[in-house]
Amino acid sequence: MLRIFKKILTTGVVTERFKTPKDDELEQLGIEIKRHIDKRFSGSIAIRQVDAGSCNGCELEIHALNNPFYDIERFGVHFVASPRHADVLLVTGPVSRHMQTALLRTYEATPNPKWVVAAGDCAVCGGEFGVSYASCGAVSNVIPVDLVIPGCPPTPLALMKGLLGLMKVSA
């Protein structure tokens, strides 16, 4: 137990902090997201992530949003287990035809008002996979999309920026 405490203490807080307002893009972004979240969603926004056919690269970077450097929850953004608890669906991948109905049902299960973010080149435009017998391509071919975050995969920073964009779109 002492070892754990020692490591926690010596690691300190690595979460990227506000240094000078202009330098630290991340902190700035976070704060702006938080302002929007406070105004529109009473302080917290719930995201349900749906992999509709991704290669899993996008998921790795979405995961990173929860690591101690980004710690996106401190801005009131959190990932939930059910679409019924969600304000936002964060969808990745080209939509595989085998996931088409599942995605539609997830969309239907999300209460209004809801927003859909398509994250990653595949979700934005079909990416490397496009449209085929097995793939519907872009998410917007299946459900309405409010915002796109390009990148293969988008970096955690790009994802943060994208979410900020959503707040502006929906404002």
């Binding site: 070892r3 754990i4 992999d51 690591n67 059910s82 035809r97 996931m99």
Partner: protein
């Protein structure tokens, strides 16, 4: 017995009962046999303790080539039979090798080839995106297919049913609760105890094999790098290796070393993420936070040095896309020294933690026999005594100039899989240092030569999950005729169905994470 002896001996044994044509295909032996001997070969191979490693088909003019890859003592054999496409059937190898089961079902769905005597010929990759009796990987099937507006859900898949008082079913997925890939799991349980688990995958099937056709090498390499995003280096390397064989191209030594560094960096990044996630699944958040922190630092170095956090598209046909400067080498080495220090501290805290001990030891047990029967690969196999590693057993550049230490455990539980991963991190760090020291000056890319139509190649590498086998055949004009990547997950997923038995349902997430199969790499 040296490795070359067993192939000669085996060939002599075979020739007594069947006609085998031996063709030299680069460094792999290609043995061609009659289709009726397909199963017989498997029986003899099993007697000789060959491991079944991969199976796939090709549609070439009016014929099907059916391929299977076997391995023993680091030597690979490509077995082939050719049949007419008018009434395609041949005896199943899955009756002998359980490892071949899903692979033959995939071939059945994609080509319409019947494997006679197959123990379970339900459809596997096909849900409802294309109709029965049409086969996407036949050459006359259009890439666009004939999709209906909305692909219906796969309602009527004949799952195994349980009967009896007190047993009940839990369907899970395809959309899971966490940030993970989609797939369906059907549990039969009594109380909390898992009696049976059936996996239903194929949800992220996106036609990778089909859309590969007609691509040029660079575009194929990009696609290969997206077969499974966490294994972008591994798959890209295997595909490039296969294409380079087909084209008769040697990669410059400097490029090989850089490829080695990229692959080991990918291994370390994934293992760190997994160790953290395994601990998190049993509510030990301290380790999760520490390992995601270390992983993030590692990925940031990837971005600084190689220009991409996950290292996508760094390997290209003929070499690599980016060079390593002296400063970068210094940076990487410094980072490794620091990482070792941190690992020492964190891992000690994990090792001495009794709540982890309670949850991880003996849970998710996979016996050596089952691991061997299913041809289980990578850390899952090695934690159950399967002492296999392509980097050591069939070394390719740059591993032919390095000593690869392979971590093996025999307990076969979640803790073993965690410790094997940890050993692999330590070994990978040493390899990276070694490759940097050996890094010779020179080109990082050989010029591409258009391979003759019909030429083929195999790429076999040790990805972070285990052995990856990739087969590529060229058409005329530098175009790809066939691309088949066999991700290690394909062989590891069935092991999950076994290792969860008699565990409690709430332990499923940690059992699953300890194996961490790729859905995308499996579904293609």
């Amino acid at each position: 017995m040296s490795s070359s002896n067993w192939t000669a001996d085996f060939l002599a044994r075979l020739s007594a009962g069947m006609a085998v044509a031996e063709i030299e295909l680069s460094s792999v032996k290609l043995w061609q046999i009659e289709s009726h001997a397909w199963q017989r070969f498997a029986e003899l191979a099993m007697q000789q303790k060959l491991r079944w490693a991969a199976g796939w088909a090709e549609h070439v003019q009016n014929r099907f080539f059916i391929n299977a890859c076997f391995e023993k003592q680091g030597e690979y054999i490509l077995l082939r039979t050719i049949i007419d496409d008018s009434n395609p059937e041949l005896p199943s190898q899955a009756t002998v090798y359980p490892a071949a089961n899903r692979s033959e079902r995939h071939t059945q769905d994609m080509f319409g080839i019947r494997f006679i005597g197959h123990p379970d010929n339900r459809r596997w990759t096909r849900h409802q995106a294309w109709i029965e009796n049409s086969y996407p990987l036949r050459k006359d099937f259009p890439v666009q297919g004939m999709p209906v507006g909305i692909t219906p859900p796969d309602m009527h898949y004949p799952f195994i049913k349980s009967h009896g008082a007190g047993t009940y079913e839990i369907p899970v997925g395809p959309v899971h609760a966490g940030i993970i890939e989609p797939g369906h799991f059907r549990f039969q349980a009594v109380g909390e105890l898992i009696l049976n688990l059936e996996e239903r995958l194929g949800y992220v099937h996106k036609g990778i094999e089909k859309i590969a056709e007609g691509r040029e090498p660079e575009s194929l390499a990009r696609l290969a790098g997206r077969v499974s995003g966490d294994t972008t280096v591994g798959h890209c390397w295997a595909a490039c290796m296969a294409m380079e064989w087909a084209a008769g191209i040697t990669v410059p030594p400097r490029a090989s070393f850089i490829r080695g560094i990229l692959a080991e960096r990918e291994r370390v990044a994934n293992h760190m993420g997994d160790i953290g996630a395994i601990c998190n699944d049993v509510a030990f958040v301290f380790a999760q936070m520490q390992f995601t922190r270390l992983r993030e630092l590692w990925l940031r170095t990837n971005a600084t040095v190689f220009g991409h956090r996950l290292l996508m598209d760094r390997i290209i046909p003929g070499g690599v896309a980016c060079d390593l400067s002296d400063e970068s080498c210094t940076l990487i080495k410094k980072e490794i020294v620091e990482l070792r220090k941190e690992l020492d501290e964190v891992i000690l805290a994990i090792d001495l933690n009794s709540s982890l001990e309670d949850r991880l030891y003996t849970a998710g047990f996979l016996s050596e026999e089952i691991a061997a029967a299913f041809g289980t690969l990578g850390y899952v196999g090695r934690a159950s005594g399967q002492d296999k590693d392509v980097r050591r057993d069939a070394p390719y550049a740059p591993y032919d100039q390095a000593t690869v230490k392979v971590g093996v455990e025999n307990q076969g539980d979640i803790a073993s899989r965690l410790w094997v991963r940890y050993k692999e991190i330590r070994a990978a760090l040493r390899l990276i240092e070694g490759f940097i020291d050996q890094l010779v000056a020179g080109d990082i890319r050989s010029e591409w030569r258009i391979p003759p139509a019909g030429s083929e190649g195999l790429g076999i590498v040790e990805g972070w999950r285990g052995e990856i086998i990739c087969h590529i055949r060229f058409d005329a004009d530098n175009k790809i005729a066939r691309f088949y990547p066999r991700d290690p997950s394909q062989l590891n997923w069935p092991a999950l169905e076994k290792l969860v038995l008699n565990n409690i349902v709430p332990d499923f997430p940690v059992c699953n994470k300890s194996l961490n199969g790729s859905y995308s790499g499996n579904d293609l």
